[in-house]
């Protein structure tokens, strides 16, 4: 694999003549990049800047077609004092924290259980990753039916075990549990796939020599696999954390944020604020608060990736 360092080295090593040709090609390569760059600037960077501007404006689209003036940091203050926002932050932390830890544990366990190349095990793997391709809106819809306390399948099955199932979507606490269940159901396969790829990149000889030394499989998992895969697991954890924080679709169709504000997450709160109440200023301010946290997490991801790549 060519890391940037090696590219750099080979570039430095090239002769003068070669360098001229590189510069000659450069125009071509720039031309290759331009369409993508323009689109990213227009659809990502421009709206981002626009959003930073909105965060300082008093603008509710339902009462005015234009901004009603600069308000400085007032939007930020209003958002931070808003009880629904505070609740949304708590909910997001709770849902993402619990769901991602569960996904990591279950996904890693399943990756080991579903490793192998026999036909049956391959079929099992195909089956297990299905939730990954299902649209989150559809997954939310599906679980909305599953978890209906009266007519849904979940409580019906629980009744065979003699358990009186809870009012999943009607009770504030159980609704949070429901959101976590759906998140775990949808994205555990992602962890499974990544861990499976990580395990298969561990040299077989390491396990063999460990087995010769009398190490049990559990021990070789603990002392060989885990340390070797630690960066990968950490990255997967961060990826999943960010994605889970951003998820909106499944909550939308599962609970609509309810009952009351019980399952409002940060993303859902900003969504309703901006695209239902059309309070553009406050929504932008809230999303920049959210953004600062996400950027921090991303810097950690990035740093880890670079470090891991140069270590390889």
């Amino acid at each position: 694999m060519l890391t940037e360092e090696r590219i750099l080295m080979s570039t430095v090593k090239t002769a003068k003549k070669r360098r001229w040709r590189l510069r000659h090609d450069w125009a071509w390569m720039v031309a290759f990049v331009v369409p993508a760059a323009l689109l990213v600037i227009a659809v990502q960077f421009y709206p981002l800047l626009f959003s930073a501007y909105l965060a300082t404006q008093d603008w509710t689209l339902t009462s005015s077609q234009f901004s009603e003036g600069f308000v400085g940091l007032q939007n930020f203050a209003k958002v931070l004092q808003n009880e629904v926002f505070q609740r949304a932050v708590r909910n997001s932390a709770l849902i993402t924290g619990t769901a991602v830890v569960l996904e990591m544990i279950i996904g890693t366990a399943l990756a080991y259980l579903a490793a192998g190349s026999s036909r049956i095990i391959r079929a099992v793997r195909t089956l297990l990753i299905l939730p990954l391709v299902i649209a989150p809106v559809a997954a939310g819809t599906l679980w909305r039916m599953m978890l209906n306390s009266q007519m849904g399948l979940t409580n019906y099955l629980l009744s065979f075990l003699g358990i009186q199932g809870p009012d999943w979507l009607g009770n504030a606490d159980w609704a949070l549990v429901s959101v976590i269940i759906v998140d775990v159901w949808m994205t555990t396969p992602f962890v499974l796939l990544v861990v499976l790829a990580g395990v298969s990149s561990i040299p077989e000889e390491l396990h063999e020599s460990a087995a010769l030394d009398g190490a049990s499989r559990w021990k070789s998992f603990l002392y060989i696999d885990i340390p070797l895969m630690a960066p990968l697991l950490l990255l997967t954890f961060l990826f999943r954390m960010l994605e889970s924080l951003l998820s909106l679709d499944s909550i939308y169709t599962l609970t609509l944020g309810g009952p009351g504000y019980a399952t409002f997450t940060m993303t859902y709160y900003i969504y309703t604020l901006g695209l239902r109440s059309f309070n553009l200023g406050m929504a932008a301010a809230a999303s920049w608060l959210f953004m600062s946290f996400a950027t921090l997490a991303l810097l950690v991801v990035f740093w880890l990736q670079r470090r891991w790549q140069t270590a390889q």
Binding site: I7, L39, Q44, L48, L127, P131, T141, D249
Partner: protein, 281 residues
Amino acid sequence: MLSRSFTKITQRALRILALTIACLVVLVPLGYLLLNSVKPQSEMYTIPPIIFPSHITWEHFEAAFSNPRTLRFLTNSLTVTGITTAVTVVVSTMAAYGLSRMGLRAGVLSLIIFVFLFIRFYPRITTVIPYFLVMRQLALLDTVWAVIIGHLGITIPFVTWLMLIVFQDLPREVEEAAEVDGASPLQRFGLVALPMAAPGVASAAILTAFLSWNEFLIASSVTKRQAQVLSIAVASFVTDRGVQWGPMAAMAVIMIVPMILFALFVQRYLIRGITLGAVKG
């Protein structure tokens, strides 16, 4: 010796048990959705529930397809997914090739990669509201173009990032040999690098198609009636006052079954695409 083979058998049994449970957890909800989509209205809301319908009815699908709006959702979804995927693959593959062969300094390339990562994971809701305003200004609200351009904003950086990994992994010698033989940059890209990167391109195209087909946030913010796609149609049942499980299940089935079949068909490329970004980055 005996006890050792005994623990082996127990281990095996436990493994089979755990995998069976995991498969059931995936399959049972999906089966339940399918059953609900063919269950007669009269058996839908009973307590205790009737899980297996007494007979199969297609009434929910008939109702869905006799509504001209459903066909519009479908054609809109197909148009958006098709155009988004085609444009993304062409534009991103070229961009990734350009970036990987520009001879950029390591620091610059790292910065570009961070920008891609940032675009993929920052809270998208931040740009959705300004994007809505821009589309309103351009009078593109409620057109498939608003949805397509919005999707391109996500898929192009993501796929460029994936293809950058693919191109950096390719052996450079073949291209250098072609260069010595007098191949132009365009020829080196199209005739040398691209064929070698073909499996990566396939993975990228498939991932883009899934992303665009399943996307909800952008589609819901810039469409009202004309340009609505399937994800909006599925979500719209939630806000309706009455409970309409039959039509709701049927619409969800219409949305997910083609993608499940597609996923089974292209499984290898799909898995490669999903793991590529996480494992290598």
